[in-house]
Symmetry: C2
Subunit: 690 residues, 2 copies
């Protein structure tokens, strides 16, 4: 195992690199030319406008105020200043609650570390086991459980500590669950009217030989929710159309690129060298002409495809968004079973429109089940066979082995030198180093946004002509919950596992949580743009994963103590996971409903309030376009945008008059269907209808 | 291990005792005097009347038709003749589905046994491992997996068989789940109007300083289910009253006993010897006078207690039965969350009134959680420490050890003699013998109903005066689902575990399933009276337990094969439980909703039909008394019965007029509450109201 000075050296290296990142960030962020990379959120909010527009030429791109370089860490207190309610308002509840995970880490591990260093470290330190063992050891080993002789009564300390840590973790988890649930409920209650409050996603609509999907949906809900049904919107399979639109956009970028090139050097028309396969052969053509023609071709294809989707019943998926007259009606429909067969007419809350993954909307139930099976089996075998590389890494993690396996590293290792000869696999040191590289330097690198920075300047140079282009080139990105959360969970696992065994790891993890909290708070305030708002629906998963980490730590401790001939502690230790699982079940019953259900009382309250405030509300008009496939909104954006907006504003009565419902194959008697939307959009873009 | 002839001897003994039970049953059941013990179900249905009423004196008590003794097994085909739909009509769906568990056993194990005996037994038999092992062995051992040498390729047979058995079991389970779900849905759809279809049980009503429970319930549901709420009934804590009523009944029995005694011997008044503590001291008193006085005292106590319950708000529990105008409204309320806090205003389907356990109705959520924790911990430690007696029994199950531990058994063992010296613990033979004792002879004894037979004749002799008394002395009992189902599960477990290891066990289990099916079908048709009807709501548990047995058998086989040096089969075997768990999840998603939810479509269909058929239905009157505590119904049964019935028949309008709601402390403005019921009953028993 590494000595304290080795770890100190590694810490110095990582702290230096983290500092380097912060310094680079501090310099880059105050350059006006990078303003859109480091403050995109404010641009999106409309609270900041381009610094390039005014001032002297040089100061447009470079910051010449040298005093601002001196205060290069002042973004940190700034990031912490915005109070939480304002943060929720600014960046959404999801982001605010995501930050609370880091805070939870601090809340759990700071008292645990304090207790471990005041109680457990002295107990470990005042033994001589390692001195008598003949093994090479260091000061760090003396701090760990390895320094206690087998069968010693001192293991009672570790047992009591395990209980204390479990209790504290559970207590913090419970408190946090309570706070987050209250935040969610308050957020939902104070929310403005949103389409998803009134809408339910219905899947697996059974095929019917006599009726179209739209008619079937209408009849089913008119019969089974007669007092509440308002309207519905069927789901189209517009995947091909999306592809075409995406391609058109790409080609448009190339067109702009060549047009810019031509403008800068008008003497020479840019040529496309080879138009054949992979640009390997074919004739040279004029680039601007070529891409203009391509765009025309794609525009034709797009309108043909749109025609096809509208007229072909096969492009309608067995899914629909059904809207209700009240939140109460939607809450009832989303939480109940509609039909005798539980695999058809599946209802669930509609996610908010931005949160939809349209491509996957129509996967049949049986495919979903099979996919889940495949994922479960793959997960099992991945975990099972992942032990092989882990075993290899573990054997490598022994410095001597590294020398043997990778002899070319020998000179380097003979330098980082005292560690050579250590015979104990340096697992705890491995994780300490890992924490410093991934959790300290890695988090510091996050703030630099190297990839967006480069991409922005490339786009800015080649594509941007107008202020609108520049806005599009700005890529704020979103908070990477899918990658960030598992990283946090790893640190929770490490912290809980090593809390009793090698408490020296804890300070490093605390630094990770603190640093990440500041960095991500800064990024959420200044950079990321939230893609959608789930109102912290992810919290039950976060909670469950910390519980799993806790149970893993308890089982590992049980295994460790049984090898240490402290087997009499087993019954006491086995109670811990039982109690933890019970605690989880308690929390699930007590708090989880706030995240998966929508109480009728709340729905009724909002409905009543709204009826009193806006008795003449045109809800149908509000909901009509909400769940339209985004591709119908983006098609021919330039020429339909205005017409669309106009169309959206008008009450539904006019809309149903304007388009001939009789000519569409899925005409509906009650006028509740919004099926003829693409038709309507198309129509409204024509001059004689507008 | 025991030889074939040992097992043959045990089988002969058990078959003989089963036969003896059947013979005794055949003789006893055709005696007219036992008619009410062996055919109570028909008396309850009113389809059979006492044979004592007519015929000669002797033939009233004894069957003198000797030809009927010859056909002593003819009840067996008779029990099988009633078709299933008629059985459901006769004894309810619960009983019919319970019988299907035995049929499922036959369906699973007959093909498995066939396959095992044609494929696996020959593979086991044609080895010589045991002959070369130097161990004492018998023919039965040669049929089992023990006869295959370690690491042999023949284990592939067992692996393929394990897959085949799992596949067949899962297939049968899936088919059965489908059938039972369809039966349940059909049963529910064709059911008559029942109070529980319209009613929801609400628990954990939060305390309110300003309103009584009844008012609170009414306001809450008027606000949150304005179009559907009909009425409600609060729940009283009448446990003390129940106790008093029970005591009165007991003392009434004693009174009748002494009155009968006096009538038979009018010259001597029966005396109670000692009235003091445990009858040890005190004065002798006239028994009839003493018990008459006691009954009067209790009657007074009962009416005081009833008064107290009606007037004391503390005797109202925070629970209520809320009824809705439509099944749709009840289905919605039962399946949704009412309030932001998921631990208050808990709603669930009301069980049918007979299925209620009134004493437990008001346990708060937190106590429920704690009770579950205690049960979980107790269950864990019971299982954990149960290994100790199991280990003792296992060591005893070795014949040599029995001789050593219990030397006084030696002479007996030296006789049951060939088995002595067997060194392999006879586990499979143990279970074969167990099956024969518990599953063959035990089931045969069930049909004799020895305890009810004796009890009936004792009561008949000492207490019965009128035909009504005789009816009360008749105790049909109910099908013992709580004891019967675990017994079946044990045989499922044994069958699945030994199917691959020692298939010789299978025929014994098949005989158990067949015999039980006939016996319990007979008992359900002729004896048991169903207490309530859950419409086969227990099936998901039955399914889950067989799945658990299947997984246990797969894990045990994996362990066994790894000790047999056939470790290469582990990855293939580990796939089995994964697939089984997935199968279970699939079944859960596909079929379980039929058992726990009530689809809105079905509810709407029944509502619409009913509205068309009976447009003037007085639903409030129908529901008013349904969920009254049974003790209010049974108090002063003799004098209120008629008045009660009369009262129940009248429309609710009259009832609310007749009782002064203003004088009750929980008067309700909307007249929806049925809270004043005890009051009303009391009132209607008075002559000036009747």
């Amino acid at each position: 195992m590494a000595t304290l000075s080795d770890i100190g050296l590694a810490a110095a290296i990582n702290i230096l690199s983290a500092f380097a990142f912060f310094l680079a960030f501090a310099i880059l962020r105050i350059q006006p030319v990078n303003d859109r990379v480091y403050f995109p959120k404010w641009y999106i909010k409309g609270l900041r406008c381009s610094p390039l527009a005014n001032g002297a030429f040089a100061s447009k791109f470079l910051n010449l105020d040298f005093r601002s370089y001196a205060r290069f860490l002042n973004w940190m207190p700034a990031a912490l200043q915005m109070p939480e309610p304002e943060l929720i308002d600014h960046a959404g509840l999801d982001s605010a609650v995501y930050l609370r995970i880091y805070l939870l880490g601090l809340k759990i591990f700071v008292p645990i570390a304090f207790l471990a260093f005041t109680v457990m470290v002295p107990v470990n330190w005042t033994n001589n086991t390692l001195e008598h063992s003949g093994l090479t050891f260091s000061e760090i080993d003396k701090l760990s459980i390895s320094n206690i002789p087998n069968g010693s009564d001192r293991y009672w300390t570790h047992l009591v500590m395990a209980y204390a840590f479990t209790f504290w973790t559970c207590y913090s988890l419970k408190q946090e669950y309570e706070i987050v649930a209250a935040m969610r409920l308050h957020f939902l209650a104070s929310e403005h009217r949103r389409p998803d409050q009134f809408t339910v996603l219905v899947r697996n609509i059974p095929p019917d030989p006599d009726e179209s999907v739209s008619e079937l949906v209408e009849h089913f809900f008119l019969v089974n929710h007669p007092d509440h049904y308002l309207s519905h919107q069927v789901v189209y399979n517009a995947n091909k159309l999306s592809g075409l639109v995406k391609e058109k956009k790409k080609i448009q970028n190339w067109l702009v690129y060549y047009q810019n090139k031509y403008e800068r050097n008008p003497s020479k028309r840019p040529l496309l060298k080879k138009t054949g396969f992979l640009g390997l052969w074919g004739d040279s053509v004029d680039a601007v002409d070529f891409y203009t023609a391509e765009i025309e071709r794609l525009s034709r294809d797009i309108s043909t495809e749109r025609e096809k989707i509208t007229n072909n019943p096969k492009s309608i998926m067995p899914a629909a968004f059904v809207s209700f007259k009240t939140r109460w009606g939607a809450a009832v429909c989303a939480q109940t079973q509609q039909c005798r067969n539980p695999t058809i007419w599946l209802t669930e809350w509609a996610p908010e429109p931005r949160d939809l993954y349209w491509e996957n909307l129509a996967i049949p139930f049986v495919f979903l089940t099979i996919r889940r099976l495949i994922v479960a089996v793959a997960f099992f075998f991945l975990t099972f066979f992942f032990m092989v590389p882990i075993a290899i890494v573990q054997s490598l993690a022994n410095v001597e082995s590294i020398e043997k396996t990778l002899p070319f590293l020998k000179p380097i290792i003979e330098v980082i030198p005292k560690t050579i000869g250590a015979s104990i696999p340096m697992k705890a040191t491995f994780f300490i180093t890992y924490t410093m590289v991934d959790g300290w330097a890695g988090v510091a690198a996050e703030i630099l946004r190297l990839k967006p920075l480069i991409m922005y300047h490339l786009k800015n140079f080649f594509l941007v002509k107008t202020e609108k282009d520049r806005e599009e080139a700005m890529d704020p990105g979103t908070i990477g919950f899918n990658t960030g959360e598992p990283q946090i969970q790893l640190y929770f696992l490490l912290g809980l596992v090593y809390a009793v065994v090698t408490p020296i790891l804890l300070p490093f993890i605390i630094v990770f949580f603190g640093l990440s909290y500041v960095v991500f708070r800064h990024q959420i305030i200044n950079v990321y743009n939230q893609e959608y708002e789930s109102a912290a629906a992810f919290w039950p998963d976060v909670h469950l994963r910390i519980i799993v980490a806790l149970i893993v730590s308890q089982l590992l401790l049980m295994g460790l103590l049984s090898t240490k001939e402290a087997a009499s502690s087993t019954p006491l230790l086995i109670t811990l996971p039982v109690l933890t699982i019970w605690f989880h079940r308690f929390c699930k019953e007590r708090y989880e409903p706030a995240f998966v259900r929508y109480p009728l009382q709340e729905a009724m309250m909002k409905d009543t309030l709204e009826r009193a405030r806006e008795p003449n509300l045109n809800l149908k008009g509000f909901l009509q376009n909400a769940y339209m496939h985004p591709v119908f909104k983006s098609v021919d954006e330039d020429d339909t945008d205005v017409a669309m907006e106009e169309w959206e504003m008008e009450p539904s009565l006019v809309a149903t008059k304007r388009t001939s419902k009789r000519s569409t194959p899925f005409s509906s008697k009650h006028g509740g269907s919004s099926l003829s939307l693409p038709e309507a959009n198309k129509g409204s873009s024509k001059p004689d209808n507008a």
